[in-house]
């Protein structure tokens, strides 16, 4: 597994850049690191709202929420989520939040 070093922290990642250790290995530095890869200039309250909702949902349910649930809970329409995370809720937001990589017929 490749590793990346950022601000003194070392993260194990897979080829897609998802955090191999999942939520347990997640920390604020990870968010800073992913931000740059994911085309995000400035992290705002709104980014954190999405990240927090994803993490809470995952801790409670063991899966990432469906897109429409994410929209409902955050109050952000999908368009807004793409404005915040240009690669979308899966590749962008879930990666940043330290959730496992989306699977299935993607």
């Amino acid at each position: 597994m490749p590793t990346v070093e950022y601000k003194g922290k070392v993260f194990e990642v897979d080829e897609d850049g998802f955090l191999a250790g999942g939520l347990d290995a997640w920390c604020k530095e990870w968010v800073e690191y992913v931000k740059e890869l994911e085309g995000i200039q400035e992290l705002t309250e709104e980014h954190w709202k999405v990240i927090n909702v994803l993490q809470d949902y995952y801790r409670k349910n063991g899966v990432a929420p469906m897109v429409r649930i994410l929209s409902k809970v955050t109050g952000f329409p999908l368009k807004k989520i793409y404005e915040l995370f240009p690669s979308g809720p899966g590749k962008g937001a879930c990666k940043m939040a330290g959730l496992p990589k989306p699977t299935g017929c993607v």
């Binding site: 080829e15 897609d16 998802f18 085309g39 899966v63 469906m66 897109v67 429409r68 999908l78 368009k79 793409y82 240009p86 690669s87 979308g88 809720p89 899966g90 590749k91 990666k95 990589k101 989306p102 699977t103 299935g104 017929c105 993607v106």
Partner: protein, 432 residues
């Protein structure tokens, strides 16, 4: 270009023999000409898979381009030491043209781009319809997307839980049976729903397919969640003189499709009249005249396909809409089921778009994670889907046969007295 390394591929090489065009020949001759290590490595990994009888691609892969949530299928080799040029081998879905008509200048530009940024290997086309660019690395994805959009003016196709790339038959461009302009319809709806295609917002995937007539050359009824089939509701047009020409043997049945074998002289009774599924045709031997009872015709296309120069579909044309086709996972394979027997369609297709949004709105709100719309209909029932979701009136054409079990749900307001009963009242007449 540097040195390339060819792997030893005895099993794969056997597939160069035989008369059918060999993909092995194609890939090797391309890779030798272009000195592409990725192509040699692909053949090497394939040889390994043939030997081990298992795939050597890792599970999954999440890559893409900014702004979109789909269109690229990430893949990584699990033999990266042996085959470093295919450590990543992502697939890009490029949206095909309606009916798959291309100009060589466009294809040439696409090839130039792919020669320089990808493996050079393609699939023309993926089963859903897209042009498939097979194999590139992550760093090339954005440049490829930039070239596609800025130079070729082409966009990506769909992947993920979204509207996948719609597809249609050749339709009016070169088929005399096309009852609607499927290419225009395909194009208009594809453009109207770009957002739904590029940014997954659905419980699961959703596909549109458009066929100009019931012969269904894109297999819409089997391979699309929403299947649009051209149809007509007036009379089949008969050219009696041409019918007689078939009977006399001057015209070849099925436009000669069966001439590689001697099936004997054309027999209109045996090959048309007796094969009509509704038995609504009659050939009068004395009059030398064909009769069709159009009110009984189910527009199966058989007679028209056998005698294309004598019979033509009607002129009052529209579409039938069927919903729900899917492959077996999870609840079993389904063909689409009839929802709208006939709808007139004309640009800008507003009525049709409303219809589509109605189905989507309900499915997006009520569909479970990874539940196809066909499974949702199974779960809530066709009746509820037709009446409550789509706001349509149930008609006999919605079913093949009525139900044969008596587990019938009634709405409370349909039943006199409703559901609230007092058992004490019952006991007054029926002591325990």
């Amino acid at each position: 270009m540097g040195e390339v390394k060819k792997h030893d591929t005895p099993k794969v090489d056997q597939l160069k023999t035989g008369p059918w065009p060999s993909f092995v020949d194609d890939i090797y001759s391309y890779s030798e000409k272009h000195k592409k290590q990725a192509c040699f490595d692909i053949m090497g990994q394939m040889e390994l898979s043939y030997t081990n009888r298992e795939t050597h691609w890792k599970h999954g892969g999440i890559v893409g381009v900014f702004g979109y949530g789909g269109g690229v299928i990430g893949r990584y080799s699990d033999q990266q030491e042996k085959f470093p040029a295919i450590w990543a081998f992502h697939t890009i879905r490029v949206h095909h043209t309606a009916g798959k008509w291309y100009h060589t200048s466009a294809l040439k530009k696409l090839c130039d781009m792919w020669d320089s940024r990808g493996s050079g290997i393609v699939n023309f086309h993926g089963s859903t319809g897209d042009i498939i660019l097979l194999g590139t690395v992550t760093d090339q994805l954005e440049p490829i997307f930039f070239d596609l959009t800025h130079q070729l003016h082409w966009d990506l196709g769909g992947s993920g839980s979204n509207l996948r790339s719609p597809a249609c038959c050749v339709g009016k461009s070169r088929c005399e049976w096309a009852l609607i302009d499927v290419q225009e319809l395909d194009y208009e709806l594809t453009m109207a729903f770009q957002d739904e295609l590029h940014r997954p917002a659905f419980p699961y995937k959703f596909k549109f397919k458009f066929s100009g007539c019931p012969l269904d050359c894109v297999a819409a009824v089997a391979r699309a969640d929403m299947s649009f089939i051209g149809t007509w509701r007036d009379e089949i047009r008969i050219d009696q003189e041409a019918v007689r020409a078939y009977v006399r043997g001057e015209l070849k049945p099925n436009a000669g499709a069966f001439s590689d074998r001697d099936w004997g002289p054309f027999d209109i009774k045996k090959e048309v009249i007796d094969l009509c599924p509704t038995k609504c045709m009659y050939w009068d031997e004395n009059e030398q005249k064909l009769y069709i009872n159009n009110s009984e015709c189910n527009r199966c296309m058989h007679c028209i396909a056998v005698m294309p120069e004598a019979l033509r579909p009607g002129q009052d044309t529209g579409i039938a809409i069927l919903i729900g086709a899917k492959a077996p996972i999870l609840e079993g394979a389904q063909l689409s089921t009839l929802i709208v027997p006939f709808m007139k369609v004309e640009p800008p297709y507003d009525e049709l778009k409303d219809f589509i949004y109605k189905a989507w709105d309900y499915w997006m709100e009520n569909g479970k994670n990874r539940e196809r719309i066909g499974e949702l209909i199974q779960r809530i029932g066709l009746n509820k889907f037709i009446t409550e979701v789509m706001g349509l009136t149930p008609i006999p054409q919605h079913v093949r046969v009525p139900r044969d079990n008596p587990y019938i749900f009634w709405k409370e307001e349909e039943v006199e007295g409703g559901w609230t009963r007092d058992v004490a009242e019952f006991r007054k007449r029926h002591p325990a």
